[in-house]
């Protein structure tokens, strides 16, 4: 009891346990932010569009922003665990710390979480706007996407009659997808480009993206659509403009 009183005389930020908690907080925040951000970036793989690059960057930033919150909770919880543990069938003595309320701490906590929220919202809105740019691009090519149980097929309305099972796209050119379905709901998703929109029977939905890397990527169905949903996959071949024109020609379209 006397020890507590001497501690209480010092300003709260100079107390030993507070200092230790603060140190823990910093360590944990850095650990969490660094580790989780790295895991996210590595798991999501190499992005194939600016949309996906933005998404990965944003998730990393969100991780860094929430790391101090997680770190603080972790630091307090760990610090409490490190002192005054008690085992057994009877309870420990009543705690000498009996503060049941702290309007100041609560206010700081709530205002901070409000600010973090606001940041996440504004940041998300900005990225959303950026991603939507492809949808307005004047030089965009159109692809009509049709989902049917359990396959995708693609029409290229700029070149009537050209159709394919695997998707072919030129690099660095915005593409607008007009997505629909024949039977039930599917979800058109290009994994490495981070775009997705449901294919609804009876409606056309739109999404757009600008692929910025040549290679082969994956289309998967992201909405359970029945028996062979797992197999409702296609490949996306992103090729140079010249190769794309050649492919269109080989399929009977005007280049």
């Amino acid at each position: 009891m006397s020890q507590t009183q001497t501690q209480d005389k010092a300003p709260w930020w100079k107390r030993k346990d507070v200092k230790e908690t603060a140190t823990l907080w910093v360590i944990l925040s850095v650990l969490i932010g660094g580790l989780a951000g790295e895991v996210i970036a590595r798991s999501m793989g190499a992005p194939a569009s600016e949309t996906m690059e933005n998404t990965i960057r944003m998730m990393k930033i969100f991780t860094w922003v929430s790391a101090p919150v997680a770190g603080l909770v972790g630091a307090i919880a760990l610090k409490s665990l490190m002192q005054k543990r008690h085992y057994g069938d009877t309870p420990p003595a009543e705690s000498d710390h009996e503060i049941a309320n702290s309007p100041k701490a609560s206010a700081v906590w709530i205002v901070t979480s409000g600010l973090l929220c606001l940041f996440a919202l504004v940041f998300g809105m900005i990225v959303m706007q950026e991603d939507a740019k492809s949808l307005q691009a004047p030089n965009a090519i159109h692809v009509n996407v049709t989902g049917q149980q359990w396959l995708w097929n693609f029409d290229y309305p700029d070149n009537a009659g050209v159709r394919s099972h695997d998707l072919y796209l030129p690099v660095d050119r915005p593409v607008i997808f007009n997505v629909s379905a024949k039977d039930v709901k599917h979800s058109f998703w290009i994994v490495q480009m981070g775009v997705k929109v449901d294919a609804n029977p009876g409606y056309i939905t739109q999404t757009a993206v600008t692929p910025n890397k040549i290679g082969v990527f994956d289309v998967r169905c992201a909405e359970l659509c029945g028996l062979l949903h797992a197999y409702m996959q296609s490949q996306v071949h992103v090729v140079s403009q010249a190769d794309y024109d050649a492919w269109i020609k080989s399929q009977g379209g005007r280049a």
């Binding site: 097929n153 159709r163 099972h165 998967r220 028996l227």
Partner: protein
Amino acid sequence: MNRRIVGAFATVVLGAGLIAGIGTYVSAAKADTTILDATPAGTLETPQGTLKHFTMDLSIYPDSFFKTSSPHPDWVSYGPSTNFRVPAHSAITFTMKQYDSGEPITNDFFARVAGTMNGTINIDGKDVTKVDANTIGHTFTVRGLSNGKSNLFINVPMPMVPEDKMSENEGEYINPTIVKFTIITGDAGEYVWNCEFPCGDGTLARFGGPMSSQGFMSGHFIVTDN
């Protein structure tokens, strides 16, 4: 103390055993467990050189009375099995006897031939690359997962038998449309196939019933190394 350890251990063993039992039961409870193997038939000259040649004969019936026990005898079905096993890196010639009627297909993408040798199929003696989208009976459409190893796409549309030509002889259908085609298999892998012509009458989008149940209009397509 000992009793508790034994009890806890016994509970774990019993629980795991229960799960294994149920799992084995569910795993075995497949409506169609038979697998049809391709028949060897010498070698075949293909654009990819001389390959081992195999054949496989399949039928498509407007009902499944041919099965000894079917929960839905009135459902359309492939026969004699819905699971096929073919060797890797070989040429497989399919002969399909299509006995069913048909109508316009909802998605005419599947009226086009894809993935066969030379891009053609042979219908009653004529080589074609697509079938009139208004007179489709069924399709045979194979695909795998989209990784480099098992990306595969085969689509074979099969014309309908006109209603007035559909006839039976002592419970057997006669007068099929005969569709022949050859495919060249790649690496081994597990693929699936299904019919892309909506033929589940009386269900939404006509894709329920036989289209969405095991053992009728879909199944496994297994490519093996041996």
